[in-house]
Symmetry: C2
DNA sequence: GCTTCTTTAGAACGACCGTTCGACGGTCAG
DNA sequence: CTGACCGTCGAACGGTCGTTCTAAAGAAGC
């Protein structure tokens, strides 16, 4: 399980080159920025919005960050780092491929449930102005995270026989785990464990629960 | 199969109260706006961007539309209308629940493949300023479209025994169909029919399924 | 020729954008 | 008390935003 208030288990600061002791307010700022980015979108969010939502004055924001794009980068970078670390820890607890798959799903859904704004910003937002190498760094880590799932699916595939490629299956599973907030807007107030189990079962066994068309219940 | 250049099979104009004969340029404008909205996002797109991409001058845009939010509404409204109509036509061709499910998936994936920008704008963008009832109208139609899938799943559920609710399953299926452009960014240059079949099989029978019900070629 | 309607576009409006600057109150060593 | 430093903020910068205004080019009927 990840931290309560911040998406990263360690390494609080990284933007101003040196580690300064002004961490706590940075966390508040990032949390407010993540929430606003998640709801209004990156381009739809103004610095004045973040200032208002975080309780920090507009100019005060620039004491803690380099600017708007750095805010986005910091949110995404911390979130994917925490996601990778959290997944690694969860996966170390089991060995069987299908168990690891369930662990991965549970971890992702759980983390997304605890830090919905951060995960949404990670998966849905992209900096339009940030021509830096920072965007590539986030993209690289995200591919690492995807590869973790792909490797698990490869091992599952060795055990069972899968009709689709692992890369394709990984994308579909990620789509399901990032699913809500779209289309049906189903009243999914489900427990995290139950929801994870449902996604896992649906992915592994399919919608028709293995029951052949001959036997009706 | 929907039209080639526009997402709606009929009813070209609707914004300026009266049906004017300036349709063709409106189509160009909407297509350019949809593409730009899809890539840069609604808030990240300026009217000057659309003017540049469509080849129409900035002030010329306001001769064809009421403004930016009307542009978004027109795109979303036309797209969901076309999607509903296209699905209805596709479903009328078969009667068996599982066949209808496959038809629905094929129709949605096919349409998304032919008009990716329009579908993306429909599913990902929301007008922040449009306080109108127009947003509710789009939302209502989208729920209608979702209900079409839910009804199909209900019928499938009567035939087979499903472990999850149809509402939840519908969300998961929509997530898979809207899947790409996220996470893995898998090199899914698949044929539309093959991709639809993969999603259908994965959804119905699961990752560890093996053989689908209908006889493979 | 003139009039009228459709379509186009340059210029400008006020509002808001991200960002910077200069100054303020507070704390603490000297 | 003085002076340096830290955290903070109001005010303002140049630029871009969505939108409107005004005028003019082209076509068509007289």
């Amino acid at each position: 399980m990840p931290d309560e208030t911040t998406p990263t288990p360690a390494d609080p600061t990284s933007a101003p080159a040196a580690s300064t002791p002004r961490a706590p307010k940075l966390e508040t700022l990032l949390a407010a920025a993540a929430t606003t980015f998640a709801t209004r979108g990156y381009s739809g969010t103004s610095m004045r919005d973040i200032a208002h939502d975080s309780g920090i004055s507009l100019s005060g924001i620039y004491y803690y960050t380099r600017g708007k794009s750095s805010l986005l980068y910091e949110i995404q970078s911390r979130t994917i780092d925490a996601l990778i670390a959290s997944a690694a820890q969860a996966l170390s607890r089991v060995t069987k491929p299908t168990d690891q798959l369930l662990q991965f799903v549970e971890n992702h859904v759980s983390y997304s449930n605890e830090h919905p704004a951060f995960v949404r910003v990670l998966s849905h937002e992209t900096a339009p102005d940030g021509s830096d190498e920072r965007r590539e760094a986030v993209e690289l880590k995200r591919k690492q995270y995807v590869d973790v799932l792909r490797d698990i699916l490869d091992r599952v595939r060795q055990e069972f026989e899968a009709p689709v490629s692992t890369a394709f299956a990984a994308d579909m599973l990620f789509a399901m785990m990032s699913g809500p907030r779209q289309w049906g807007v189903s009243d999914t107030e489900l427990n995290v464990g139950i929801a994870s189990r449902l996604i896992y079962d649906l992915f592994v066994h399919g919608f028709t629960g293995g029951t052949p068309p001959s036997s009706r219940a």
